[in-house]
Symmetry: C2
Subunit: 705 residues, 2 copies
């Protein structure tokens, strides 16, 4: 992605669409560049010419000198394609278009967009936009947005936003909290460069330590996921446009597509990204990632207010933090500094009426050294009375401590507003202002620490003749190829190839044969009717359990056939009986659906009628590693039941994991499968067995062209 480098580090920038008029937006771009002391050369271009801020406005692209790295265009949409072409001829390789009126503006706009795309290909140019507000790089003062901006405070977080308006309000919030921005990109309609290209670029950008993204749509979902998995920096993602209500407005706004939000959410988490849905949360994360990561769950809370210590303890419990006892010598040293000697200190440490910054330094330093403390929460209530230089020194001391011991110190300042603002401006060290936010942010820091460690996990390889399996799914005869579904034994064939165990079962066409088969399998057996026309077998009573003799099997099969001929005569055409050895164990569902943007997914849920309605399930993108499968099981609500309940035998968890992993590889590798459902997968004390399986084939005529 080195080809994107010049978007951020151009030496000569042309701004196209500048005039002397006060309301001219191009003029604002020049003023933003000057305000941020851009270190390169600036060339204003506008048909009316004249001069601005002491610079001559060139009247055409052709007048530009050679060697322009980048052109920023802000002119009416219909004029843009020609300007792009002239830039191409001039040898300019990087274009930023801020004008609106393209994809998001109906047919006419789409025509303009297509012609721009042609130019890009013809002249080998890259484009950011249109319909965005451009690029900022605080390292060299490049600042291309057209709204007038306060000076953007430099730092190590980079922001990518699909909406200019939201992007500006983020810059605003970052400035207020003095978090510091390294790069900012408003990707607009992403006609060429998109979030994936930029994520890839920022991943290795030296100035960027933390990446923020505001997205309304993700087009190349699987690519996004793959890139995200590789990034080791924290990537914080605010993905909106999750609802029917927003879909329409989002389309007219940035021509974003709606994705299945659950899949998006899964992709972000599994890729090791951090999803947020609130601005406050985002700001708190930006703050916490300025500190060393929290590597464990053991905190010390030091507070100057008992009430805030109580709130802190509640939140520690909520997030599963421990508050280990502190060593007697640390407590003694602190107690010796208290006015009222009767107080016994603990963790949380309520310092009550101790107003002594020297003592705080000592306490912080004593605690951070402790090997069984992973981080500190310091609730610094600070009202009046004291030399205002004192907190500064103490905060500087804390900054150093955190850095030195590579442990986070979450500083929550509870003071009067002006003082909070003053100190925030003074320190790049993050200052929180509510107890719950500092603890919540530490939790996210630890979560990221754990997830980062999982980024290198991969699914195992399975030796299998993939071509053969694909053929099995597609169908080997013309008749088979026409069927949209694979059921019963044919579906079993597919999953068996990938090493998934199935319940011992035989398919027959007549009731008598079913009885014979049952004799061989041993009792009790289950009898099922299979037909492409029967989707919910339970509705037709088409699954009969607990059959313990040949007579019962034959009788049941006959009854079944009668019921089906009454209620669903269609189904008689391809009706077959499946006789299965009845298994005892936990009933789960393992399923998969291919998402248009993110590819194959894998789902684990409870089976059975009731729990299906409670809709408990866990989702991942396929394929998954054994560890990921293990986490899926842990996430499933009620998973303790698998360990054996009220004296029952524990289910064979290893086999369950194995089945999940193998199925996830199957659906990932065989894209002829659109959907797959194993319902139930029965997990016995000795193995997990697919008892029923249904595969929906991918079709090419889903109207996707």
């Amino acid at each position: 992605m080195r080809e994107l480098h010049k978007f951020f580090y151009p030496e000569k920038v042309a701004v196209v669409g500048v005039s002397q008029r006060k309301a001219n937006l191009g003029r604002n771009i020049i003023s933003n560049l000057l305000e941020h002391e851009y270190s390169g050369e600036i060339y204003p271009v506008g048909p009316k010419g004249g001069a601005i801020y002491g610079m001559r406005i060139l009247t055409s692209i052709e007048e530009l000198p050679d060697g322009i790295d980048q052109a920023v265009i802000l002119t009416p949409a219909p004029t843009v394609p020609e300007i792009v072409e002239r830039c191409g001829k001039k040898g300019i390789k990087h274009i930023v278009i801020e004008s609106g009126g393209f994809d998001e503006y109906g047919e006419q706009g789409q025509i303009l967009a297509s012609s721009i795309k042609r130019m890009l290909a013809q002249y080998k140019m890259r484009l950011i936009g249109p319909n965005g507000i451009g690029v900022i790089n605080t390292e060299n003062g490049l600042c291309l947005p057209f709204p007038n901006l306060e000076r953007v405070s430099p730092g190590a977080t980079s922001i990518l936003s699909q909406s200019g308006g939201v992007g500006i309000s983020f810059i605003q919030e970052f400035n207020t909290e003095n978090i510091g921005i390294n790069k900012f990109i408003s990707i607009g309609n992403k006609l060429d460069v998109d979030e994936i290209d930029l994520l890839d670029y920022l991943a290795t950008d030296d100035g960027t330590k933390v990446i923020f993204m505001y997205l309304e749509g993700i087009r190349r979902g699987r690519d996004f996921f793959e890139v995200l998995k590789r990034v080791k920096k924290p990537v914080i993602i605010f993905k909106s446009n999750t609802s029917n209500l927003s879909a329409k407005i989002a389309h007219s706004h940035t021509s974003a597509l709606v994705s299945d939000d659950r899949v998006v959410d899964t992709a972000i988490k599994q890729g090791g990204g951090i999803r947020v849905s609130e601005v406050r949360e985002m700001i708190n994360l930006a703050k916490i990632f300025k500190l060393p990561l929290l590597k464990g769950k053991r905190l010390a809370v030091v507070s100057r207010s008992g009430g805030h210590a109580v709130i802190a303890a509640d939140y520690c419990q909520r997030y599963g933090f421990e508050l280990p006892d502190l060593p007697a010598e640390v407590l003694d040293r602190a107690e010796n500094r208290l006015r009222a000697k009767v107080i016994k200190l603990a963790n949380p440490m309520d310092l009550g009426d101790l107003y002594d910054v020297e003592a705080y330094r000592m306490i912080m330093s004593d605690i951070i050294k402790l090997p069984d403390i992973d981080g500190i929460v310091f609730l610094f209530t600070y009202f009046s009375f004291y030399d205002p230089s004192i907190p500064e020194d103490m905060i500087s001391y804390i900054v150093d401590l955190a850095e030195q011991y590579k442990k986070p110190i979450g500083l929550c300042l509870l003071s009067w507003f002006a003082e909070e603002q003053r100190l925030k401006k003074l320190f790049k060290f993050p200052i929180f202002t509510t107890t719950e936010e500092v603890i919540g942010a530490l939790y996210r820091s630890h979560e990221f620490y754990l997830r980062r460690g999982q980024k290198d996990e991969t699914a195992p390889e399975i030796t299998v003749d993939k071509f053969r399996v694909k053929k099995l799914v597609e169908g080997e005869t013309l008749d088979e190829a026409k069927l949209p579904l694979l059921l019963g034994q044919r579906a079993f064939e597919v999953i068996k190839r990938y090493g998934v165990k199935t319940a011992e079962s035989v398919e027959t066409s007549t009731a008598e044969e079913a009885g014979d088969v049952a004799e061989k399998l041993g009792y009790p057996v289950v009898l099922k009717a299979t037909s492409a026309k029967l989707v919910h077998k339970t509705e037709f009573g088409a699954v009969i359990l607990n059959l313990d003799s040949k007579e019962k099997v034959v009788e049941a099969a006959k009854n079944l056939m009668k019921r089906i001929s009454d209620k669903a005569p269609d189904a008689l055409d391809d009706l077959r009986f499946l006789v299965q050895k009845q298994l005892k164990g936990s009933e789960l569902i393992v399923g998969s659906k291919r998402d248009k943007q993110f590819g194959a997914t894998i789902l684990l849920g409870w089976g059975g009628v009731l729990v299906e309605l409670l809709k408990e399930s866990v989702l991942r993108l396929a394929p998954v590693s054994y560890d990921e499968a293990s986490r899926m099981i842990q996430e499933l609500r009620g998973h303790e039941l698998l360990g054996g309940f009220r004296g029952g035998s524990p289910a064979d968890i290893e086999s369950l994991k194995d089945a999940i992993v193998r199925l996830s590889i199957l659906v990932h590798e065989v894209d002829e499968i659109a959907e797959l459902d194993i319902n139930p997968l029965i997990v016995t004390p000795n193995g997990a067995y697919a008892v029923d399986c249904r595969i929906v084939k991918s079709t090419v005529d889903e109207g996707e062209f």
Copy 2:
């Protein structure tokens, strides 16, 4: 509660513990009173005498003139009881103690607290504190906290805090947001006046429109609930100390008790209060309650940024709001003002590049008049370029519109920080700064509107001989009285008295008898073993279903007896067989537990082994009305199952409600019941029947003395 009035409206206040020393905290109280221009007379008292701020410091209580309404005491704990006594002798009826060192300080402190309590009784005084920071009333400038405060901005919300430190940070936040405070009370250890007295007082206080409470413990839970139910103003409650980790620190801090947090949560919601657990959330609620309540779920979103409109639509969907189409004439009038005429406006209305405050006024005014719009969200992105007087005029206009049409307009200002601050200072009208917060707050406003309407619901009366039922629970013979539990038919007897239906069943002592009974009941039947020693019958296989002949019943009973004599021979002593007609329907649990602070509760959950482990249940304080029972059912996850699933018959919901209501009245009225469990209650298409019931008696020796 008129007797509390003088705490807020004293005409003459004595401040005890004042000296000329700079570090003297009593001196700060005087300075706070002067800073807030207290309208009454101030009398400093301190043994060393002298003068301060031009006032003479009296050297003893006795020197005070007659007619002092209130004494504020801030002296070392051991000196306080005597000062209180002297105040009593002087005829002072209202005491505020800010000193710490009482209940929260071990045995010695408790002795001091007891002697103060004696004085209060002897001299008929009321006390706020100790260990708090006193009282503020912005109406008359009464400001008693000892920390130096910025001038508290007056308004219509009153704050009650159990922690001084948390209270001060709340005042701080309210000031920053210019919400405005009417009264503030730091209740500290609440040795006398507690949150219930004060809630009762504030409920009818003219100056208070919204009540905030920060609580660490609620001692008289049921009283609190009853008072809360009567208050028609919004009561926002931040209840901390919910965890094991916080319990210890909270006790040493304000001697607060831990309550079962789920019961506290239920009591607050059912009482029509609003629980928060985050400072931001609290501030957002304080803001939204300055506006008219949101009476319906139909919103219009007007935005100057497409991205923020997308986020707004997501949050509208998340909270179940509707965004109705706006009439063509309203849209047309707005479109005529746009620069780019190609945009088609809708709801959310993305005004894009329209920067025209006149047009906003017109749009707001057009929309608020619409009968099918209940409120407006206005996302006002506003960056530079314009005459700063313009937003002021527009905001003033919006303020009037909201008032005139009694509909809330949630104004979210997205601007640069200094401008946000400037406008917040200028208007008491709430200004939000994130999209998600304004919509979340509107949701809570609507929720409160609905709950307030439920405050007048009451449980019906049931005609029943309560004395007889109490006797039944206690036991009529000495032997019965000794048993801690009521099981089987004896428990059924109790619930039947309150009109709860039970499954037809007969108790027998022998297997043969069980067979005879089954013949009479009709098949299939269920056979159960009952004994006080068998708690989970399923573990012993002590419930046998689907028995369809006399022989099977007798055989099953014999097997059962054998199994029990093997595994739990103890249970043979009181073993009986219960033969029950087997019912088909949804299995639920209805239970109750008496909470020490809040009294009897009523719980509804799913029955059956699996779902019990999933821990889905809904809780209320007993008794409940039919409407409340109805809401309980609606809240139960998966309640749609009761409507009939995949062709099953729908359960009799009216009977289920009836059973819940009747049981809730029973456990409320009969306090001899400590716990009651009906597991399962089977809800058939024709009635809800208790199938098994277990009652635990209240004991007097729980170590509660």
